[in-house]
């Protein structure tokens, strides 16, 4: 589904503090599976996820998504692909304070111009599935950590993407909530979605829900 060919990524290019976060990554990611990237912080796993998730472009190398080369696409079209095909669950949840859970969930669909009624109905389904229906109108800063994460998950699903990307999803959760998250994750696989996540939480990477673990260090892959 996603193929990476000799991916390199530099920050602060041509400046004294130039820094290469990725040094030539070759990787193929299968559809419908859960792939976890494991590695210490600074190993480049988050940078790799941003490239896979069309959040940024590699400095060099090729990215193929469903057979199409997207490595040289301008941001405008990367955003289109990202909006349709990827859903993100961030480590800090990154919800917008002051808005209700419902408003937060439908935000990613605003640029599509789908009617509001349709969005609210879709969000309602997601809330029901994630047992959040009673909190839909609550402001996100009043929600507990677990609830916030479920709002973030609902937001990732509003545009019905094929791929879910989660960056350190359990870093801010206790064991019980982490287990709950893994259960939701299995639901995704059952629904045929591809999941990519980074983690160094043994609970995640050793879970049976994860099909493949990719190790990383210093911007390079280390054996599966």
């Amino acid at each position: 589904m996603i193929e990476l060919l000799d991916i390199r990524k530099a920050f602060n290019q041509n400046r004294p503090n130039e820094y290469w976060a990725l040094h030539g990554i070759d990787l193929a990611i299968e559809a419908g599976k859960v792939t976890a990237f494991r590695g210490p912080s600074g190993s480049g796993k988050t940078t790799l996820l941003t490239i896979v998730g069309c959040l940024s472009r590699p400095t060099s190398g090729r990215v193929r998504f469903k057979g199409e080369d997207i490595s040289a696409l301008p941001e405008r079209f990367l955003t289109d692909i990202r909006r349709q095909s990827f859903g993100f669950v961030f480590q800090q949840f990154n919800l917008i304070k002051g808005l209700s859970a419902l408003e937060n969930v439908i935000l990613p669909a605003f640029p599509t111009g789908r009617p509001r009624a349709e969005l609210v109905a879709r969000a309602g389904e997601l809330f029901a599935r994630l047992q959040l229906a009673h909190r839909a109108q609550a402001r996100v800063e009043w929600l507990s950590g677990g609830e916030q994460q479920r709002v973030a998950i609902a937001r990732a699903l509003i545009n019905d993407p094929e791929v879910i990307i989660a960056d350190e999803p359990t870093a801010n959760l206790d064991t019980a909530l982490s287990m709950e998250f893994m259960a939701i994750l299995e639901g995704f696989t059952a629904a045929g979605k591809t999941v990519l996540l980074t983690s160094h939480d043994p609970l995640v990477v050793e879970s049976s829900a994860v099909h493949r673990v990719v190790g990383m260090r210093d911007g390079r892959l280390i054996g599966d």
């Binding site: 988050t46 996820l49 941003t50 959040l55 940024s56 941001e75 405008r76 955003t79 289109d80 990202r82 909006r83 993100f88 961030f90 480590q91 800090q92 990154n94 919800l95 917008i96 304070k97 002051g98 808005l99 408003e103 935000l107 990613p108 605003f110 640029p111 599509t112 111009g113 789908r114 009617p115 509001r116 937001r155 545009n159 960056d167």
Partner: protein, 377 residues
């Protein structure tokens, strides 16, 4: 509904919510913006009202006024002068007028004394303008004395107070009979102040003026349209000068808008980062921010303009009157007839919304190009 329209509604929704969330931050800018519109709108509304007032005044005045010149100075019309004009084609009516100024030491103000035919004002009676009546506490049937320039005291009875339709015209006016006028000012018999001619067809005014100059080389015809032009340019010029002075304020405001728009709080930057990460495009963020600017602009414009309207037409433009009006002391209070003009509103809109929008474009763009992956770092 088309997706495009639906999307604009979503963007406006989000903008309204985010404006509401940052009330205090936006309030400051909104207040300054509204104040700027208020000042500029008061200025334009006021000068426009004066302009239409002047137009109103002139509408009732004769098309041509003939003055006699002696050594380049305005002089009295000698007897027989009226007849010398003879018949000129197009002139409907010609009459000698008598008027002058009187300085009243009580109010430190100048009044205009004007003679009317005996059929309108009887000897010993006067009619006075509203402002004058107010200042001197006069009402119908009161008597008032004026000491003439020759030192004699004259007493008049007030026959009527002139209606305040257009106060600018009649505020300082005193109407009295011709005989009284001549006695009061010791005006030589048979002489007049000037001659008024009515010309029905505006196309002929210039021809009439040319004929007058030919017939009476020592005279100067003053055309109403020329006076009108002078008024307009004087008011326009004053307004323009004030605007130029206020350009500093507009510039300061634009800088403030720029500052406000570029000094995004960490929270706002984070929000834009989130929006971009979850699928908003740079163009979407720009559009959202442009909507925000438009909403602020329109609110400030409407608010400022309405406040200015009330200020000018209900409170007599208390703040700006001294600068723009500034001639006689007799106008402490005169209600302007509400007059709003499309060009003024359009110009005002240009002067306020345009600099604001121009100032926020680059900061908006800067905010919108936040890296979408910023939130993951």
């Amino acid at each position: 509904m088309s997706p495009w329209l639906e999307k604009q509604f979503h963007l406006i929704d989000f903008t309204l919510a985010s404006l509401a969330r940052r009330k205090t931050r936006n309030l400051g800018l909104l207040v300054v913006y509204t104040l700027l519109v208020f000042v500029l709108a008061s200025l334009t509304l006021y000068s426009n009202a004066l302009r239409s007032e002047a137009k109103h005044v002139l509408a009732g005045s004769p098309e041509v006024i003939l003055q006699r010149m002696v050594a380049g100075r305005h002089d009295l019309i000698p007897p027989g002068y009226l007849d010398k004009i003879g018949r000129i084609r197009g002139v409907q009516k010609k009459e000698g007028r008598l008027w002058g100024y009187y300085y009243d030491p009580v109010l430190n103000a100048n009044y205009t004394f004007m003679a009317r035919p005996a059929s309108e004002v009887a000897d010993g009676m006067i009619m006075v303008g509203e402002a004058l009546a107010r200042e001197r506490g006069l009402a119908k049937n009161n008597t008032i004395s004026f000491r003439s320039y020759s030192g004699k005291l004259f007493t008049f009875e007030v026959a009527a107070v002139l209606s305040p339709d257009s106060e600018l015209l009649s505020a300082d006016l005193v109407l009295l009979s011709e005989d009284d006028f001549r006695r009061f000012f010791e005006y030589p018999d048979g002489h007049y102040t000037d001659i008024a001619l009515s010309v029905a067809n505006p196309q002929e005014v210039r021809n009439v003026a040319a004929k007058l100059t030919a017939a009476l080389p020592d005279s100067r015809p003053i055309l109403r349209e020329e006076v009108q032009r002078t008024y307009q340019s004087v008011f326009d010029w004053r307004e323009g000068i004030l605007l130029t002075v206020l350009a500093g304020a507009i510039l300061a405001f634009a800088i403030l808008a720029w500052e406000k728009a570029s000094g995004l709080s960490a929270e706002e930057k984070r929000e834009i980062g989130i929006l971009k990460a979850i699928g908003w495009e740079t163009g979407d963020v720009i559009r959202m921010k442009v909507w925000e600017g438009l909403l602020i602009s329109l609110t400030a414009f409407l608010g400022g303009f309405l406040a200015a309207y009330v200020h000018v037409f209900h409170f007599g433009a208390a703040v700006f009157a001294p600068v723009l009006k500034g001639w006689s002391v007799l106008y402490p209070k005169f209600a302007l007839v509400p007059a709003v003009d499309g060009l003024q509103v359009a110009t005002l809109f240009f002067f306020t919304v345009f600099p604001y929008t121009a100032a926020i474009l680059v900061p908006i763009w800067r905010a919108a190009i936040t890296d979408p992956d910023a939130v993951m770092r």
